[in-house]
């Protein structure tokens, strides 16, 4: 079995996921990542899987590969997600399905397969991604907010189901961060969100990594089923 900590990060090709890859590599971990697209970069200690998280057999194959090569998984971070800003009256059904599948089904499949591997060492840390848009009930993001609400409840229920196996499941709800995810959101809408927070600034990758570091710390073994929002807007 690998001596080093093994971390899985979904949606690792860019944005927060890519940042977290480097963050965990700097901690000395071996990092496994996945995305629907191939990547044009390499980092020592990082292995990329070309995986769609909504595809059950691809997710299973990725976790089997981690088991075969490392014999362990310590941390899984469900960062893969999509949003689409649109009034509900104009939301195409196909887009709605994609939003639900990637955010909810994808998170579930990765949680399930990660937990199967983690339970063998009776230890694991899973972190899911929600959003500040849930407590803000953000107009124009009905499907995204609904999907992330589902992720929050998934987090709370899985926290109970996985607790007997030494696995904690928590979620982070970031404020808007300047990534591709909010590329299509009008500037004034983003400012409106920022203005509704206690701490009125955009979030940073470092803010997210800080919360994740707290959740995945071995000392956080009595912290599970929690959703932590950045910015004081929750």
């Amino acid at each position: 079995m690998t001596e080093r900590e093994v971390v899985l990060i979904t949606g690792s090709s860019r944005g927060i996921g890519r940042f977290l890859v480097e963050h965990f590599l700097q901690r000395g971990a071996l990092v496994e990542g996945c995305a629907r697209n191939p990547i044009d970069w390499e980092l020592p200690g990082y292995t990329h899987h070309h995986v769609d998280v909504t595809n059950e057999s691809q997710v299973k194959a990725m976790l089997s590969s981690i088991q075969r090569r490392h014999g362990r998984l310590d941390i899984a971070i469900n960062n893969a997600g999509i949003a689409a800003m649109n009034h509900a009256l104009l939301m195409p059904g196909e887009t709605a399905v994609r939003i639900l599948n990637i955010n909810v089904l994808g998170s579930f499949l990765v949680c399930r397969e990660a937990a199967k591997l983690m339970r063998r060492r009776n230890y694991g840390r899973i972190v899911n991604f929600s959003t500040i848009a849930v407590p803000l009930r953000l107009e124009g993001e009905a499907l995204y907010v609904a999907a992330k609400s589902a992720v929050e409840m998934l987090t709370r229920v899985l926290a109970r189901e996985f607790a007997p196996f030494g696995i904690t499941v928590n979620a982070i709800g970031p404020t808007p961060i300047e990534t591709d995810l909010i590329r299509g959101v009008p500037r004034e809408k983003l400012q409106q969100i920022i203005d509704s927070l206690a701490i009125r600034r955009f979030g940073t990758f470092r803010d997210v990594a800080h919360v994740i570091d707290f959740f995945v710390n071995p000392a956080s073994d009595n912290i599970t089923g929690q959703v932590l929002y950045l910015g004081g807007g929750g």
Partner: protein, 107 residues
């Protein structure tokens, strides 16, 4: 049933070894004789629901690691069967033979 890539004895041993490990890990008493008549789940059986879940996952992983077969044991069909395939070691071995037969196209 013939032509399966795994013999019944191998499957039976796999189930019994997994059962023994699950009982050991959960600090439950291990009966002297574990065989195909051993009751797994239900009245007077060895496993509670959490231990059964663990057993199912453990078996899926061992079958994949030892025989390279990816099976899903707890699908909707298994859960809706009147005679649960998880009631005894023997019933589970029967069920594994059936699934492996379907997977390897030898049925």
């Amino acid at each position: 049933m013939t032509g399966l890539p795994i013999s019944r004895i191998e499957l039976s041993n796999l189930v019994i070894d997994s059962l023994r490990d699950i009982l050991e890990q959960s600090d439950r008493p291990i009966p002297t004789n574990l065989d195909e008549h051993t009751l797994l789940f239900g009245k007077g059986a060895l496993l509670d629901s959490l231990a059964l879940v663990t057993m199912v996952v453990e078996l899926e992983q061992r079958i994949e690691e030892q025989f390279g077969l990816t099976l899903t044991l707890a699908d909707d069909r298994a859960m809706s069967q009147r005679n649960s395939p998880f009631r005894s070691v023997g019933a589970l071995v029967d069920y594994l033979e059936q699934l492996i037969g379907e997977e390897s196209g030898s049925d």
